[in-house]
Symmetry: C2
Subunit: 360 residues, 2 copies
């Protein structure tokens, strides 16, 4: 089982996941090359993943059989595992704990899609609904303090499998970055009786220069102090701590705006590798605090590299003013967006996937 | 001039450096390819850099002429500039300030060396001495709160120029990561009357499993909660907040151990891209606190990729137990280390440089 350790100097938690790789030679070859040929995530290969946790199967049918739109399976090489008892980390400066937690994979499409923009909108809706249902289910697990939904697209963004998939990790201790955000949001709430992100959003909507796109209930923004060029935040206009507290109509609306935001980024930057992550309130066991958390999705195209300066200080250099990035993203036409979504033919990797993966 | 902005939610400072790049198309081609042919950092090309700030010129001679061992020049495309007045960032959740600061480049060798292990030990000593002298000089600038010395080797580690060089950035506000480390170290000091890192080091020396190499005054360690595989910390056995408070003999001893540590990492991992950064006390204007800061150099081989999980949580997954990494690094023989150091012939890039740069 993996082990959790906390850095005594900076407080960062690390999962020491020795099941995943071991010898120095594992790191000296090209890492994470897209596997040519066989894909364990494509429809028909259900027996090549661990048994499924959940699936969207509109026509019914047994688990681990074809006919699904979205499938959730345990990660075959999990960073954390629920086979064990969570133990509170000790005090002192050598804090460690067993690696109890969960690590699931959401296979987003039965076809070998690469990006969420390769999917028909109705399919991407299933992905968003699946995020909500899994987040809700894991929220109830008293062993987990925080649940993170995230996605890596392209090798440079950390993806080792090309087929469109997201991941959900549930951790037993509060991650440092989440704790920092919580602290700032709570402090603002105590002083002002309002949610900090509600205020930020209202100001950005009034100002307009950082708005990328919007619908009735959601907004896509270029954040004021983005650390990376062309970062986009998606967030609800209404206050909500958790992704899963919304109606079916809103889930569909979010899927639509999110796909549009990704299409704008892909068109502007010629299909960059990217990551996204859902920032939300801690689980019930982690202390929730819905009143001061406002969930948002952070989408980060990986077009600059993090280097010594960033690791040494936590200070970032962004060569593009967020207001300019927003203007570029807004200037992509609706027609370009419509043409991009679901444009990929059925079947395996095309030139676009190659471009995304071989970029250096 | 660049602008500093603080993220309202997580508190991270970002330099919005719009002089450096502008349009989306700047990010859509391969970025930072090593330039073939001409190198502005090689001896004889002194007129292709901004006028030098300092240099080691054992035989004497005018500024910006050949005959140097190490040269310090302003960064031609600085992230920050001292041409302006530092303004305290406002309060509220849109904190911004002019990008006042400094950004220098240390050219480590007149030859086209790639890694510090390509240099004769006597030349690398000059590099360490130059770090100390520049850190000391910038420490006295009342506009700077923190000074970071760092280095990027290889494209994947963020290097855009191949020729061995380091950078020094001085920033006018306290970086978040530094503030966090300070807070933990101060708290420990208040409770225990001792330096936290002195305690950590004493325990690691007694335990032995994480020690990589040591000399009379310095130790190379595999840190207990390393976020990245094969991370190495170099630190003094004696307590010191700043790199520049040591004698000439100790500077030479540090250079020797540091070069050995890099050689061990390069041999184990087959010349990986890497970063290192010097963590030290803030400047005089930044509040110093020498009693609870213990300087150390963090060396990070870039063999895994940071992805959505890490960005979303600040939680890291390390697939190699730090104790195993230390054993692999210790098991490199002294003879292998000796053969590696300064093995590169004079002249431009060889196969080794190619390998480091084209790795993906």
């Amino acid at each position: 089982m993996a082990e959790l350790r906390q850095d005594p100097i900076c407080g960062r938690w690390v999962i020491i996941a020795t099941e995943r790789a071991a010898r120095p030679s594992d790191f000296t070859l090209g890492r994470g090359d897209p596997k040519g040929g066989f894909c364990p995530f494509c429809e028909g290969n259900e027996d090549r993943t661990p048994p499924e946790i959940a699936a969207v199967r509109p026509g019914g049918g047994p688990s681990d059989s074809p006919g699904w739109r979205v499938r959730v399976v345990p990660n075959k090489f999990p960073a954390l595992s629920l086979n064990g008892h969570a133990v509170a980390p000790g005090t002192g400066h050598r804090r460690r704990a067993p690696g109890v937690g969960t690590h699931e994979v959401i296979i987003e499409s039965p076809r070998h899609a690469i990006s969420p923009t390769d999917m028909p909108p109705s399919d991407f809706e299933h992905v968003i609904r699946t995020y909500c249902r899994r987040a809700e289910a894991l929220d109830a697990d008293s062993r987990l303090a925080y649940v993170l939904i995230f996605k890596n697209v392209g090798q440079e963004a950390g993806a080792s499998i090309e087929h469109a998939h997201s991941q959900i990790v549930g951790v037993p201790v509060m991650p440092r970055r989440v704790a920092e955000e919580l602290e700032r949001c709570e402090q603002f709430y105590r002083h002002n009786g309002r949610c900090l992100l509600c205020d930020v959003l209202a100001e950005d909507l009034e100002d307009g220069t950082r708005v990328v796109a919007q619908t009735e209930s959601f907004v896509a923004l270029s954040p004021f102090a983005a650390a990376f060029p062309f970062t986009v935040w998606l967030l609800p206009r209404f206050h909500a701590g958790c992704l899963f507290d919304m109606g079916a109509d809103q889930e569909a609306e979010l899927a639509r705006l999110f796909q549009e935001a990704m299409a704008r980024v892909e068109i502007c930057l010629n299909d960059p590798p990217f990551n996204y992550a859902v920032h939300a309130a801690p689980t019930a066991a982690g202390g929730r605090r819905d009143e001061c958390c406002h969930w948002h999705i952070e989408l980060i195209p990986r077009v600059t590299r993090v280097a010594g300066f960033e690791w040494g200080t936590g200070f970032y250099i962004n060569p593009v003013e967020p207001e300019s990035a927003a203007a570029y993203l807004r200037n992509v036409t609706d027609r370009q967006v419509a043409e991009r979504i679901a444009r990929q033919p059925a079947g395996s990797g095309d030139g676009r996937a190659q471009a995304r993966h071989s970029r250096s």
